[in-house]
Symmetry: C2
Subunit: 330 residues, 2 copies
């Protein structure tokens, strides 16, 4: 993940006792347990990529040159910026010898054949918010290549455009199902570049190297900030991209048929919207950006001094190559 023009929060850990200063948590792989597998009718492997909280500035400045994806002869192309995050590696540091792509594929190649060999019906779900949504498409593409018959679903929240039209056509060929959840005022789904439309399609041949030829793929679930009686009706560039607000609006969503009503029996705690934003109306009395540790993480030690605590053992990652043993599923 190094040597790229990356947002500083991805590039470096700032915790003075960080386990590694060149790497950062990027994603998780989970598998449905037996009860959930029975409920949904398949053994679902879930990959979730780390999202973005307020990355709009970075996304705007990102390197949006189109880069071949899926082989140099492929005309499918994706933004250089996402491609770099997904594929870069470094020999210099312990945790980055494999790229994010290598690591996730290694884990999928371990898990999916294992469950298939047990005669189970296996599916793959990819989910991410913002930048994480973009990475989901790259992983979906890779996974479809590796496991041609695997049912693959992508669910993104406020995801940006990822690649060009041929890339999207490849996703369609591979029968990848996609739901893109989009809040109407969120700017991130409009990035990078400007919308791909009929007019631009015509000039494609004239401007092959041009950066704006990005397009979206999949079913778009549109959400409206004004559908919620709890949210401020004022412009908030960062707030509109907030994942908790997305989940709040999904919770209250009734239908996309022009209805702007909020579901009366919505169950998600409204206070969560303000975890990292100030989108809730003043009347809710919920403080903005309240999700923060006491004393910003400082603790008072035995000598009465306020210090940065030691890291919890479970907060340090296992050495690279360590996997949860498959025996847990037996």
């Amino acid at each position: 993940m190094s040597r790229l023009n990356m947002p500083h929060w991805l590039e470096k850990s700032f915790h003075p006792k960080a386990w590694n200063h060149d790497s950062n948590w990027m994603g998780y792989v989970a598998v449905s347990g037996d009860a959930e597998t029975e409920r949904i009718g398949c053994r679902d492997v879930l990959v979730t990529w780390r999202g973005t909280i307020a990355p709009t500035e970075w996304l705007k400045d990102m390197d949006v040159r189109l880069e071949h994806f899926g082989g140099k002869n492929s005309d499918a192309k994706v933004a250089h910026g996402y491609y770099g995050i997904y594929t870069s590696k470094s020999e210099d540091t312990k945790y980055n010898q494999l790229s994010a792509e290598d690591q996730v594929l290694e884990e999928l190649k371990r898990l999916i054949p294992f469950f298939k060999s047990r005669g189970e019906y296996v599916s793959l779900t990819l989910s991410g918010h913002g930048l994480g949504g973009a990475l989901c498409f790259l992983t979906a593409y890779d996974a479809a290549q590796e496991f041609p018959d695997l049912p693959i679903t992508v669910i993104t929240f406020g995801g940006p455009r990822v690649g060009n039209k041929p890339f999207c056509e490849k996703l369609k060929e591979k029968k990848i199902k996609v739901i893109r959840v989009v809040v109407r005022h969120d700017i991130v789904p409009h990035l990078p570049g400007i919308p791909f439309n009929k007019k631009l399609e015509k000039v494609e041949n004239l401007a092959e190297s041009w950066h704006g030829l990005y397009t979206h793929y999949g079913y778009e679930l549109n959400l409206e900030v004004k559908s919620s009686p709890y949210l401020k009706q004022m412009f908030d560039l960062v707030g509109y991209h907030n994942l908790e607000m997305y989940l709040h609006l999904v919770d209250g969503h009734i239908s996309s048929n022009g209805s702007e009503k909020f579901r009366e029996d919505a169950k998600r705690d409204v206070a969560l919207v303000n975890k990292w934003s100030g989108m809730l109306k003043k009347e809710t009395l919920v403080p903005s950006c309240w999700y923060q540790p006491a004393f910003k993480g400082l603790v008072c030690n035995k000598l009465g001094r306020w210090v940065i605590p030691e890291r919890e053992p479970e907060d340090v990652p296992p050495p690279p190559g360590t996997h949860v043993p498959l025996s847990v599923f037996n």
Copy 2:
């Protein structure tokens, strides 16, 4: 404390379950215990008035008309703003039927004769930061009036000017000892108005009603931000007035003889400087303004909802007129 042009944090409590929306904590009275009394050689009664965190804007806008203090025939005058906070009361609310002045004098009249009657040597110390420092002078004046032979000491941190020259002369007559601790770049000690100087003294008769005729009284202990190797050397209007920074500089103070060295064996925890400011250098790794509760005070209730907690019983004040019984000293 109501019906005055007051800073909003003094005028109202914003906690939705505040015990009273028209009142606020203003000060405390404490008495030295037996061990401390023996150590310092007298039974010291300490009055401390609530200070100001970032009140410079308010102090600048404060009503600085001079108001008679200590009787209408007195030529001692103090700023209308402080006078109002100290003396105002309201029949309408349970907690404001007595003014701050009434309440503190009532308590001093209860405590001081009690210890004197036991043959003890009694002293009074008043201490406050910013606005609290100003109120100390008013209380000192009142106490000297009430107890003519009582040794009275005022220690203020970043206190503003309080009254005119006759007011200061009265303090001198009453032999009130004063230490004003002042950080050189703090703006508050320069308020209100402009410095009283020789030139202005000459025009006093010509401009009797003029607002700028304030003066300081007492020994000034000067502190320099640049004496501390831990502090940022950049302009920070709010940071320069921060009480924790004052205490840090007192801790490291060696002498006022031009020395700008910091005491090598200073013992106060440096991290405290950043409790409510961002004055510490980045290298200290102490986050700025770190003194905050987890989740901004929200708690997760039994239903999994994030809510404002009930107030702790000890956080609700006793009814007015309730006193700690003097029997605790027997």
